[in-house]
Protein backbone atom coordinates (compact mmCIF):
# COMPACT_ATOMS: atom_id res chain seq x y z
CA UNK A 1 0.00 0.00 0.00
CA UNK A 2 1.25 3.50 -0.70
CA UNK A 3 2.00 6.03 2.00
CA UNK A 4 -0.81 8.23 0.69
CA UNK A 5 -3.33 5.44 1.12
CA UNK A 6 -2.13 4.78 4.64
CA UNK A 7 -2.48 8.43 5.47
CA UNK A 8 -6.02 8.85 4.23
CA UNK A 9 -7.44 5.63 5.65
CA UNK A 10 -10.40 3.74 4.27
CA UNK A 11 -13.26 6.22 4.45
CA UNK A 12 -15.76 3.37 4.21
CA UNK A 13 -17.85 1.56 6.79
CA UNK A 14 -16.23 1.21 10.19
CA UNK A 15 -16.34 -2.34 11.55
CA UNK A 16 -15.51 -3.72 14.96
CA UNK A 17 -12.26 -5.68 14.75
CA UNK A 18 -11.09 -7.80 17.65
CA UNK A 19 -7.65 -9.40 17.91
CA UNK A 20 -7.34 -12.20 20.46
CA UNK A 21 -3.84 -12.98 21.74
CA UNK A 22 -3.41 -16.24 23.63
CA UNK A 23 0.26 -17.14 23.12
CA UNK A 24 3.42 -16.19 25.00
CA UNK A 25 6.06 -14.17 23.11
CA UNK A 26 9.30 -15.65 21.69
CA UNK A 27 8.47 -19.38 22.02
CA UNK A 28 6.26 -19.15 18.92
CA UNK A 29 5.81 -16.49 16.24
CA UNK A 30 2.11 -15.82 16.95
CA UNK A 31 2.59 -12.83 19.28
CA UNK A 32 4.85 -10.90 16.92
CA UNK A 33 2.70 -11.75 13.88
CA UNK A 34 -0.40 -10.53 15.67
CA UNK A 35 1.28 -7.27 16.68
CA UNK A 36 2.30 -6.64 13.07
CA UNK A 37 -1.20 -7.35 11.80
CA UNK A 38 -2.64 -4.94 14.38
CA UNK A 39 -0.17 -2.22 13.33
CA UNK A 40 -0.81 -2.72 9.62
CA UNK A 41 -4.56 -2.97 10.15
CA UNK A 42 -4.52 0.32 12.08
CA UNK A 43 -4.10 2.13 8.74
CA UNK A 44 -7.68 1.18 7.86
CA UNK A 45 -9.07 3.14 10.81
CA UNK A 46 -11.48 0.54 12.07
CA UNK A 47 -12.83 0.15 15.60
CA UNK A 48 -10.11 -2.07 17.05
CA UNK A 49 -10.03 -4.00 20.32
CA UNK A 50 -7.08 -6.13 21.37
CA UNK A 51 -7.65 -8.88 23.91
CA UNK A 52 -4.94 -10.67 25.88
CA UNK A 53 -5.93 -13.94 27.52
CA UNK A 54 -4.21 -17.16 28.65
CA UNK A 55 -0.46 -16.97 27.91
CA UNK A 56 -1.12 -13.91 25.73
CA UNK A 57 -0.86 -11.75 28.83
CA UNK A 58 2.83 -12.66 29.00
CA UNK A 59 3.33 -10.53 25.86
CA UNK A 60 2.79 -7.48 28.08
CA UNK A 61 5.10 -8.46 30.96
CA UNK A 62 7.33 -5.60 32.12
CA UNK A 63 11.10 -5.96 32.19
CA UNK A 64 11.67 -8.21 29.16
CA UNK A 65 15.33 -8.44 28.13
CA UNK A 66 16.00 -10.61 25.11
CA UNK A 67 19.74 -9.96 24.71
CA UNK A 68 20.51 -13.49 25.92
CA UNK A 69 18.31 -15.25 23.35
CA UNK A 70 19.29 -13.03 20.43
CA UNK A 71 15.74 -12.16 19.46
CA UNK A 72 14.16 -8.75 19.15
CA UNK A 73 12.37 -7.51 22.27
CA UNK A 74 9.13 -6.24 20.75
CA UNK A 75 7.40 -5.47 24.05
CA UNK A 76 8.11 -1.67 23.80
CA UNK A 77 6.05 -1.62 20.60
CA UNK A 78 2.85 -2.26 22.58
CA UNK A 79 3.38 1.22 24.04
CA UNK A 80 3.20 2.65 20.49
CA UNK A 81 -0.29 1.19 19.85
CA UNK A 82 -1.93 4.26 21.32
CA UNK A 83 -0.30 6.42 18.62
CA UNK A 84 -1.80 4.08 16.03
CA UNK A 85 -5.20 4.83 17.60
CA UNK A 86 -5.39 1.32 18.99
CA UNK A 87 -6.50 2.25 22.47
CA UNK A 88 -8.77 -0.53 23.61
CA UNK A 89 -6.60 -3.16 25.27
CA UNK A 90 -8.30 -5.80 27.39
CA UNK A 91 -6.84 -8.45 29.68
CA UNK A 92 -8.74 -11.38 31.12
CA UNK A 93 -8.85 -11.28 34.92
CA UNK A 94 -8.87 -15.06 35.29
CA UNK A 95 -5.72 -15.39 33.14
CA UNK A 96 -3.89 -12.86 35.29
CA UNK A 97 -4.92 -14.63 38.48
CA UNK A 98 -3.86 -18.06 37.28
CA UNK A 99 -0.40 -16.62 36.70
CA UNK A 100 -0.12 -14.65 39.95
CA UNK A 101 -0.07 -11.35 38.08
CA UNK A 102 -1.88 -8.03 38.24
CA UNK A 103 -2.33 -5.17 35.75
CA UNK A 104 0.61 -3.45 37.49
CA UNK A 105 2.92 -6.12 36.07
CA UNK A 106 2.08 -5.05 32.51
CA UNK A 107 3.95 -2.62 30.25
CA UNK A 108 0.82 -0.73 29.09
CA UNK A 109 -2.40 0.40 30.78
CA UNK A 110 -5.15 -2.14 30.13
CA UNK A 111 -8.73 -2.74 31.12
CA UNK A 112 -9.13 -5.94 33.11
CA UNK A 113 -12.31 -7.84 32.24
CA UNK A 114 -13.85 -11.02 33.60
CA UNK A 115 -14.49 -14.00 31.33
CA UNK A 116 -18.17 -13.09 31.30
CA UNK A 117 -17.43 -9.52 30.23
CA UNK A 118 -15.08 -10.79 27.52
CA UNK A 119 -17.81 -13.09 26.20
CA UNK A 120 -20.02 -10.05 25.68
CA UNK A 121 -17.20 -8.02 24.14
CA UNK A 122 -16.39 -10.76 21.60
CA UNK A 123 -20.04 -11.36 20.80
CA UNK A 124 -20.31 -7.68 19.87
CA UNK A 125 -17.55 -7.82 17.18
CA UNK A 126 -17.87 -7.88 13.39
CA UNK A 127 -14.48 -9.54 12.82
CA UNK A 128 -12.50 -11.67 15.26
CA UNK A 129 -8.89 -12.61 14.52
CA UNK A 130 -7.29 -15.20 16.77
CA UNK A 131 -3.57 -15.64 17.42
Amino acid sequence: MSEEMMEEGGGGVIKKFCYINRKAPYGTIYALESLEVVLIGAAFEQDVSVVFADDGIYQLTKGQDTAGIEMKNFSPTYRALEMYDVEKLYVEKESLEERGMTADDLIVPVEVLSSAQLQDLMEDQDVVLSF
Binding site: R22, K23, A24, P25, Y26, G27, T28, D54, D55, Y58, T61, K62, G63, Q64, D65, T66, A67, G68, I69, M71, N73, S75, E98, R99, G100
Partner: protein
Protein backbone atom coordinates in the same frame (compact mmCIF):
# COMPACT_ATOMS: atom_id res chain seq x y z
CA UNK B 1 19.73 -40.63 34.87
CA UNK B 2 17.94 -38.72 32.16
CA UNK B 3 17.91 -34.97 31.71
CA UNK B 4 14.33 -33.94 30.97
CA UNK B 5 13.74 -30.71 29.06
CA UNK B 6 10.38 -28.93 28.73
CA UNK B 7 9.97 -26.09 26.21
CA UNK B 8 6.19 -25.61 26.27
CA UNK B 9 4.11 -23.39 28.53
CA UNK B 10 2.47 -25.47 31.28
CA UNK B 11 -0.73 -23.49 30.76
CA UNK B 12 -1.20 -24.55 27.15
CA UNK B 13 0.37 -28.00 26.92
CA UNK B 14 0.46 -31.18 28.97
CA UNK B 15 4.23 -31.53 28.46
CA UNK B 16 5.31 -30.39 31.94
CA UNK B 17 2.65 -32.49 33.65
CA UNK B 18 3.71 -35.57 31.69
CA UNK B 19 7.35 -34.86 32.42
CA UNK B 20 6.71 -34.60 36.17
CA UNK B 21 4.64 -37.80 36.12
CA UNK B 22 7.08 -39.85 34.06
CA UNK B 23 10.48 -38.70 35.34
CA UNK B 24 12.22 -40.75 38.04
CA UNK B 25 13.12 -39.40 41.46
CA UNK B 26 16.61 -37.92 41.40
CA UNK B 27 16.46 -36.84 37.77
CA UNK B 28 17.09 -33.34 36.46
CA UNK B 29 14.38 -31.25 34.79
CA UNK B 30 15.37 -28.23 32.75
CA UNK B 31 12.75 -25.65 31.74
CA UNK B 32 13.57 -23.75 28.54
CA UNK B 33 11.80 -21.39 26.08
CA UNK B 34 8.09 -21.09 27.01
CA UNK B 35 8.68 -23.93 29.47
CA UNK B 36 10.20 -21.37 31.89
CA UNK B 37 6.68 -20.16 32.75
CA UNK B 38 6.53 -23.38 34.78
CA UNK B 39 9.28 -22.04 37.08
CA UNK B 40 7.24 -19.17 38.52
CA UNK B 41 5.68 -18.39 41.89
CA UNK B 42 1.98 -17.94 42.59
CA UNK B 43 0.70 -19.60 39.43
CA UNK B 44 -1.89 -22.33 39.27
CA UNK B 45 0.83 -24.94 38.65
CA UNK B 46 3.43 -23.66 41.17
CA UNK B 47 2.42 -26.29 43.72
CA UNK B 48 3.06 -29.11 41.22
CA UNK B 49 6.60 -27.94 40.59
CA UNK B 50 7.28 -27.37 44.30
CA UNK B 51 6.08 -30.88 44.95
CA UNK B 52 8.36 -32.29 42.24
CA UNK B 53 11.31 -30.36 43.68
CA UNK B 54 11.16 -32.51 46.81
CA UNK B 55 12.54 -35.43 44.82
CA UNK B 56 13.90 -33.93 41.57
CA UNK B 57 16.30 -31.15 40.69
CA UNK B 58 14.70 -28.36 38.66
CA UNK B 59 16.63 -25.90 36.51
CA UNK B 60 15.55 -23.03 34.26
CA UNK B 61 17.49 -21.40 31.45
CA UNK B 62 18.28 -17.84 32.57
CA UNK B 63 18.36 -16.20 29.10
CA UNK B 64 14.80 -17.47 28.51
CA UNK B 65 13.71 -16.25 31.96
CA UNK B 66 15.14 -12.77 31.36
CA UNK B 67 13.74 -12.51 27.83
CA UNK B 68 10.25 -12.99 29.28
CA UNK B 69 10.74 -10.46 32.08
CA UNK B 70 10.01 -13.00 34.85
CA UNK B 71 13.37 -13.02 36.69
CA UNK B 72 11.76 -11.69 39.89
CA UNK B 73 9.10 -14.38 40.01
CA UNK B 74 11.18 -17.57 39.92
CA UNK B 75 10.37 -20.10 42.66
CA UNK B 76 12.97 -20.50 45.41
CA UNK B 77 14.96 -23.66 44.90
CA UNK B 78 15.02 -23.54 41.10
CA UNK B 79 18.56 -23.19 39.77
CA UNK B 80 19.09 -20.75 36.91
CA UNK B 81 21.71 -21.82 34.39
CA UNK B 82 23.15 -20.40 31.15
CA UNK B 83 23.78 -22.19 27.84
CA UNK B 84 27.12 -23.57 29.07
CA UNK B 85 25.29 -24.98 32.09
CA UNK B 86 22.80 -26.62 29.71
CA UNK B 87 25.68 -28.33 27.92
CA UNK B 88 27.15 -29.49 31.26
CA UNK B 89 23.80 -30.95 32.33
CA UNK B 90 23.43 -32.76 29.03
CA UNK B 91 26.94 -34.17 29.41
CA UNK B 92 26.41 -35.26 33.04
CA UNK B 93 23.29 -37.25 32.22
CA UNK B 94 22.95 -40.49 30.30
CA UNK B 95 20.58 -39.00 27.71
CA UNK B 96 18.21 -36.12 27.14
CA UNK B 97 14.47 -36.63 27.01
CA UNK B 98 12.84 -33.60 25.37
CA UNK B 99 9.15 -33.24 26.24
CA UNK B 100 8.00 -31.45 23.10
Amino acid sequence: MLLHTVNKSPFQHAALGSCLRLSKDGSAILLIEDGVYGALKDTKISADIENAMKTKKVYALEPDIKARGVQDRVLDGITLIDYAGFVDLAAENKAVEAWL
